[in-house]
Subunit: 385 residues, 2 copies
Amino acid sequence: MQNFIRYNPTKVIFGKDIIDQIAEEISPIGKKALIVIGKGSVKASGLYARLVSLLNICGIEHSTFEGIKSNPIYQDADAAVKQAQSFKADMVIALGGGSVIDTAKAVAMGFYVDHSTWDFYLQKTKPEKALPIITILTLAATGTEMNPFTVLQDTENGSKRGYGHPLLYPKVSYLDPSFTTTVPADYTAYGVSDLIAHCLEQFFGTGNAPLTDLHTSAVIRLAVNYGLKVKDHPDDYETRANIMWLATNALNGSLTAGKNSGDWACHGFEHSLSVLFDIAHGAGLSIVFPAWLKFHQEKIAAKLAFLAKQVFDIDTGNELDAAKAFIHHLEKFYQQINTPIRLKEVNIDPSAKTAILDNFKLNKVNGQVYKLTEADHEALLNLMW
Amino acid sequence: MQNFIRYNPTKVIFGKDIIDQIAEEISPIGKKALIVIGKGSVKASGLYARLVSLLNICGIEHSTFEGIKSNPIYQDADAAVKQAQSFKADMVIALGGGSVIDTAKAVAMGFYVDHSTWDFYLQKTKPEKALPIITILTLAATGTEMNPFTVLQDTENGSKRGYGHPLLYPKVSYLDPSFTTTVPADYTAYGVSDLIAHCLEQFFGTGNAPLTDLHTSAVIRLAVNYGLKVKDHPDDYETRANIMWLATNALNGSLTAGKNSGDWACHGFEHSLSVLFDIAHGAGLSIVFPAWLKFHQEKIAAKLAFLAKQVFDIDTGNELDAAKAFIHHLEKFYQQINTPIRLKEVNIDPSAKTAILDNFKLNKVNGQVYKLTEADHEALLNLMW
């Protein structure tokens, strides 16, 4: 086992109707909340009105910033910071999915500075303090509700970047699975793809950590089970609850204990795809990961054979065969839940090759464990068509 | 899944030589530390001197309270409170195993009050504040290093009680597996028994939580693997590291997500045994648990069959057969690591029956899920001989 630190101060309150007790946690924080939401689905569902009513009951004033995109941009975060500053907010409440929460995190640290939030993502500076962040999650996918990470993009410059800081752990996150029953099938599938990708990125980290590996493979196994089940039972609370909790566990630090933080090349490649073509993150990941696994399959055969057994009950006796079987079954699973596995399925054709490779180069996507050269990028990209 | 809260603010710093960086975490806390230790093994090993030297380097004064017993008593906690108060400590550093840490937790909350620490355990009062608690763990067993619980006893009155409060989460816990390589074989085995018991108590909680169940069974499976391995390789760092991390995970809140807190009858029974006969907690648990499992085996057959498959790769096709096979294999494992499975092995003979049953009654040991009456107590106790 490698030396490691396990620290996660976020309080997760999970279950049906748990936001009705929101006063208990947020009343001690302050009296003015900036609410950040996306493009209106939480208004249509009535959830926004429910939150506002709960805030009114406990005497908390609010100001709402609306319109966060599914690939969120730093300009929205900067505009929300200005709104929070003139409103004199003392907390940020993110009501939505990963893009809304990631923007709220940018707002929380941007509140105390007079420069663009993007400077944090460019690693030009670090936050000294941040507003308390409360999240009410409506989409099971990124895990941001229980981690210190945020991803935004600069669309004009083709740059999507992540940033992490301990001040960005949400103070409290409310996870009510019933809020996700209205998520359409495609975004449900992208969420499952995202959470599996988080497991895989970390699984391929260095370090021998048997409990972490069993825990990781259990998350993937159940993501496959419930990813298939939710197609036919989108309203089933238990199914949604399992997917929600799996997604949180996939990136809350549990899966790196005893290891380094993971490889993360695939997330880099996917960030290039979504910033260039505005595709959903999870859709990009189900295209990138099979290609990456195939590219490295000889080197990682033993690890893939472990996953083949733990996730799909496949035990071939030969590591490379098992590795290939895992990749095959994973692709088949992605197809079953209708998340794409090739670029052509999201209408990206080979004429975009140079633009993609340039973006890989611009964003220096190399992987932390299985290092890739620029020469490897083309071979890897070819596996995505 | 049941509604639940997941919250654990303890920062665990895990790995070889990690205490050398202790200044980073504790310097901001204060300038005066009460150190709590047991009966001298940390002095013999040189670890106490190493800690004192690290504190001197960062200019932190210390006062040491020595002599905590392996079944810790509230009188020691009260005496340590007085010492901490007159020293004007601003933190408590526990250097030792579970009994030392549990005492330090009592000291942390006792510091601010003028009554006995035992009043907390008797549920007469709650702490309003507590000193920051730092732990340096030397024995993998109880999980107290990453949870808000403490267990002390009143030996004269035959009462051993647990208490939990969010103020009792250690602020930082240092887990260096190399500090456990000198733990003798018997206490190593008792630690493994303790961590498995924590898994089982929580596993038999109500609520359908598939990830939690797979996680729990993974901890037990690896505890069996490494529990056997450490017998022949007591100095092996990786083996000790795995056992240490398993013990922490067995009671840090991970294994109750989506369930209630567990049954905990066996811990109640064991507390009676250790307060009456001063046996090691883990030794008592490996006697109590097989009896409890046998007593309930029909009712819990499906759950035991799941464990049989996940822990021992047993799949009989018949639930009750698998349940019995699990109990048999668990007893065999306890015997292999030389932790007792019957009262006679720890020299408790049937003449003690009335005293034990009286203590069960005194401490109202009934279980939270599989309720037991006083009439059941005798049948259960008979299974322990």
